[in-house]
């Protein structure tokens, strides 16, 4: 994305954010992976055998038996226990974010117990938050050092940016806010905007407002969560709903924005189209970085997505229930259209258990599309949108020079961990120990820091200018209308005519 840093003269490759982001992300994954591997249990073979045996037991359960559901749940719990022993997560309790809270914001700094009956523990939470801050500080200080900037100035300012991210998480953790999908990115952005548009961005704080570094490192780490075998989670119906409709909506909305609405900024058009058609915040962040959108364009797209998600999360479940389209079609429709995973699961829950499962699975498959979208948009941008100074399209060698390298890191990590995940139970648990044990939490913090930085470097006037014509809102509404129509038609076609038995199977589980 455009930033003051990117306008500086030529820097050697190792001082560019793209390469630093890749090195940091690969380094973190290597360290955490090695640590988990060293700590893996001695009785791995025994645990793997027990896991296989329990899975066989589940398969052999008599579906007609009265105790089927109870026995299956018991065995599934055993599977979860075995998996938690295999997947070692040495940093899981140390890398945290503030807890959710109802009435007292101080509860955000109390560790919630997994068991509902057990009292929450205040000890350790603040310590863990400090550890999280220190890990991020060390990681990014090294990046800033390599970039040739003052590490001391960065570290001093980083404490303030981290504190703002902490406040953003605390605001987002309030139960009402959380239940209407008003995610931390919104509060991080607003806090930054509040400072930059009232007292102004102080010089000392600007040293840690490093949007590009945070966002690109977060994105490369996100690659660890884009696991291609998840594509097959719902068989062909899942692929048809998520991977056929979504690209059609993305391209259709972008073309509508270009040729009908004539939106002046192609990058704004692309970010809104991807944000609305793929999966909200994460798709917007990935696409914005891929097409070098302005910070304000990214935050506008995310703002639109969050506002419309709040409306859809309330309205869509009632349309499903009122129309009688059923849990499977309704779930697939919700999963294919509501932007973020949490909102999809929440809306699905209001329809029913099967709807929730189908909706969340369809959204998960759509999430995996991020990798292909980021790569495709990067390639399209450097090949067809960006022109040479003489107005000509760039040659292939120039396309390579301009291609955003972080995308390669993102795809590389995604392919590497997908291949490891494919190696049976041990591979799956190894990936889980890296992602669930550390990188997921770090990636969220990096995005939060990035949005604080975007707010700090943005001006309200830019948003007013972009919204003045009303075109971004029209683009989102029209694109979402196309998405709602096509997703419904595909879900109906798939579960009524192409694979009618699958709907029955899903309902009878």
């Amino acid at each position: 994305m455009n930033s003051p840093a990117s306008t500086t003269p030529v820097r050697p490759w190792y001082r560019k954010e793209d390469y630093i982001a890749i090195i940091i992300a690969f380094g973190l994954i290597a360290i955490i992976g090695f640590w988990s591997y060293v700590l893996r249990p001695d009785n791995m073979e025994e645990l793997t055998a027990n896991h296989t045996m329990t899975k066989e037991q589940i398969k052999r359960l008599d579906k007609s038996s009265e105790s089927y559901a109870e026995s299956k749940e018991k065995l599934n719990k055993q599977l979860t226990e075995i998996e938690s022993k295999i997947a070692v997560m040495p940093l899981k309790t140390s890398l945290v974010k503030p807890s959710d809270w109802d009435n007292d914001p101080r509860d955000a700094f109390v560790r919630k117990s997994k068991s509902k009956d057990a009292p929450p523990k205040s000890s350790g939470m603040i310590g863990s938050l400090i550890v999280t801050g220190i890990v991020l500080l060390i990681v990014f200080s090294m990046g800033v050092f390599v970039m040739g900037d003052s590490t001391f100035r960065f570290a001093f300012a980083f404490v303030a940016v981290f504190a703002m991210a902490l406040i953003a998480y605390t605001l987002a953790g309030q139960s009402v806010i959380k239940n209407y999908n008003l995610e931390y990115v919104l509060w991080a952005l607003l806090l930054g905007l509040l400072i930059s548009n009232t007292v102004g961005l102080p010089k000392w704080l600007s040293y840690a407002a490093r949007t590009e570094l945070y966002i690109k490192t977060g994105l490369v780490l996100l690659g660890a969560e884009v696991l291609f075998n998840k594509l097959l989670a719902l068989g062909l119906p899942g692929i048809l709903i998520s991977w056929v409709v979504t690209p059609i909506v993305l391209i259709g909305t972008y073309l509508f924005g270009q040729y009908i609405l004539k939106i002046p900024s192609k990058s704004l058009n692309m970010v809104i189209s991807a944000d609305m058609s793929v999966c909200g915040v994460s798709a917007a962040v990935a696409t914005a970085a891929a097409c070098k959108a302005k910070k304000e364009e990214l935050s506008l797209a995310i703002g639109l997505s969050l506002i419309f998600t709040v409306i859809m999360i309330v309205v869509q479940p009632y349309i499903v229930l009122w129309s009688g389209m059923g849990e499977v079609i309704g779930g697939a429709w919700i999963g294919g259209t509501i932007d973020s995973t949490g909102a999809v699961a929440a809306a699905g829950t209001l329809v029913g258990g099967t709807a929730k499962d189908v909706a969340a699975t369809v959204k998960m498959i759509q999430n995996i599309l991020i990798g292909a979208v980021a790569f495709g948009v990067s390639l399209y941008w450097v090949s067809f949108v960006e022109r040479n100074s003489d107005g000509e399209r760039p040659k292939i060698s120039e396309v390579w020079t301009r291609f955003p390298r972080f995308t390669l890191g993102f795809i590389g990590i995604s392919l590497l961990l997908s291949a490891i995940q494919y190696q049976g139970l041990e591979g799956r648990m190894f990936v889980s120990s890296i992602v669930d044990g550390a990188t997921k939490q770090l990636r969220e913090w990096m995005f939060c820091l990035a949005f604080v930085s975007i707010g700090l470097e943005s001006n309200f006037r830019e948003y007013r200018h972009m919204l003045a014509s009303g075109k971004p809102v029209v683009l989102y509404v029209c694109g979402q209308a196309l998405n709602l129509t096509l997703s419904f038609l595909m879900a109906w076609l798939v579960f009524t005519y192409l694979f009618p038995e699958t709907a029955t199977e899903l309902l009878s589980k």
Binding site: L234, D357, M364
Partner: protein, 70 residues
Amino acid sequence: MIAVVAIAACWGFVLPKLAQLQSVRDRIDRFEQAGINPSAVFYTDHPKMAEIERRIDSVVNSEQSSFWGQ
């Protein structure tokens, strides 16, 4: 200063009061019981995703032919 007071009033008083309204409470409790995190950004942020995957996987694996059109 006004913004700080507004944030403190909203998060310290208004939202906690809203959270106590029966309709809002019911909604929050329903999501909590179902293990839903409505503010999850990516699928990996959703706490019950592994359970959902396992349930769907058992259905798809037991009826491979239906889900792969064979």
